[in-house]
Amino acid sequence: MKTMPNQTSVRCMIQRWFPNYPNARVVEIHTDTTDFFRVGYDDVVVLGERAYFIRHNAKEGRFGLDDEEKFWVKRAFDLADGSRKIIKLVFHERFSSRIGDIEFECFRSPRKEARILELVGDHKNFMSGYAIPDEKGNIVRVLDFIYGKPLSILIEDIQSNHETYFHSEFPAILERFVGCIRAIRFLHEHEEKHGDIRRDHIIVDRENEHYRWIDYDFNYRQRENIFSYDLFGLGNILIFLVGKGDVLLSNLRREKHPALHRIRADDVNIVFHNRVADLRKIYSYIPENLNRILLHFSRGANWFYESTDQLLEDIETYRNSVEKIESRLKSDTTGPEENPPKIRLKERFADESIDPS
């Protein structure tokens, strides 16, 4: 498309993918996206040589606000091939954010997201797309839509009890999450940070089950360690995955959980004091070497991970220990009907554990 599309050509393109689109409707065509409120449903945004048919604004829950509409983020269709896209327009937002009892200054960064999109290319653990300036130089990001659900929903949808989940499904989930940690390491190696690591910012791609990071435009005034906030996010997700969801003190109290009396002030998340980090006190079959990793994100931690390499090393040590035990079990001559591997695995870890009380 070397010339600016006109009404006729745009309507033709739209009707190719949306045959019921009314012939007589005048299409609002935008090449300047500076005022993103003006870019609305049924409009077309032209960027470079491509035209995008705009649908609804995206929505997201953040910090207690469910389904907040993001007016600068549009769902769209690429009129060249009908593929679904997410189009992020420029919004130089600065705001104060609070996490736990800590307040810090944050800002949206189209340039950061553009840099990361170029850096990651088609990496299987990142959303893909590209950035292009519009007519006024606004850096618009066009992202390939990922068909799938957030990792948080995937975990919440698992019906099995925790023990079954931990032995059957968690190993594969952890393996995929390790891919996500390596992906963040890749960013850090290139002096970039994700900036907004959350469990709902990993989408489980339905086509290939890859775990893919999204939303890289969040940024904050960095201080001494520019990667530690990312590491904190990774730790939170790991605790969430090990626990098959958040283990909240309020829920334990409501259920009069028998482990409640063992929970100390140091056992909770270092920032979110309502979440238990020392999960072995709740689920005693969690191996000590895995639990130790979680404790690095607890209030009682006296040492914090400084890099993704350190976190990965400890996770690999845990995973290797599990593999060794599983291969030892497989080489035993006892039949599976008499001694199911899962129970023997639990007994093994019980032998190697330290009584948490």
Binding site: H92, R94, I99, G100, D101, I102, F104, F107, S109, P110, R111, K112, E191, N219, R221, Q222, R223, E224, N225, I226, F227, S228, Y229, F232, I270, V271, R299, A301, F304
Partner: protein
Amino acid sequence: MNLSTHRNNKKILIAVNTSGNSRRAVSYVSKILRGFSGFHVVFLHVIDPPEEDYFSCRAEEEKWMVQHGIEIDRRLDEYRQIFIREGFDPKALSLRKTLRYGPSVAECILEEQHRLGCGTVVVGRQALSRSEEFLFGSISSKIVSHAKDCTVWVVE
């Protein structure tokens, strides 16, 4: 100079910013060293500008740098005056600014300490909660854990 032995020299680097912690550190060192001769003090400020994405345009970024430069020059001179009032020879006091390079302010400070051959590094402790230190890091803690071949003073 044999850098491996410079921990015993009388060259002191005080890492400062515009905070009250820095002023306390400067005041403390000036009082401790008052009356002793032979010390050379370097006041070092690592300029840590917001990332480019913080600014909506280049002009805003340049304005920030200019304003910050004016403010920090004023503070550095104030710190120098604190020492002069305690009787120090102005020729024994140096001011230095550098832009943050790399992911860590603490590492920049230690790099400058090494380059300048300072035997002692002084830094004020920020009043960070454990959560803040966890999320964002602590310059003084990092200096203490990563410093080599020098002495570190952390002033509360």
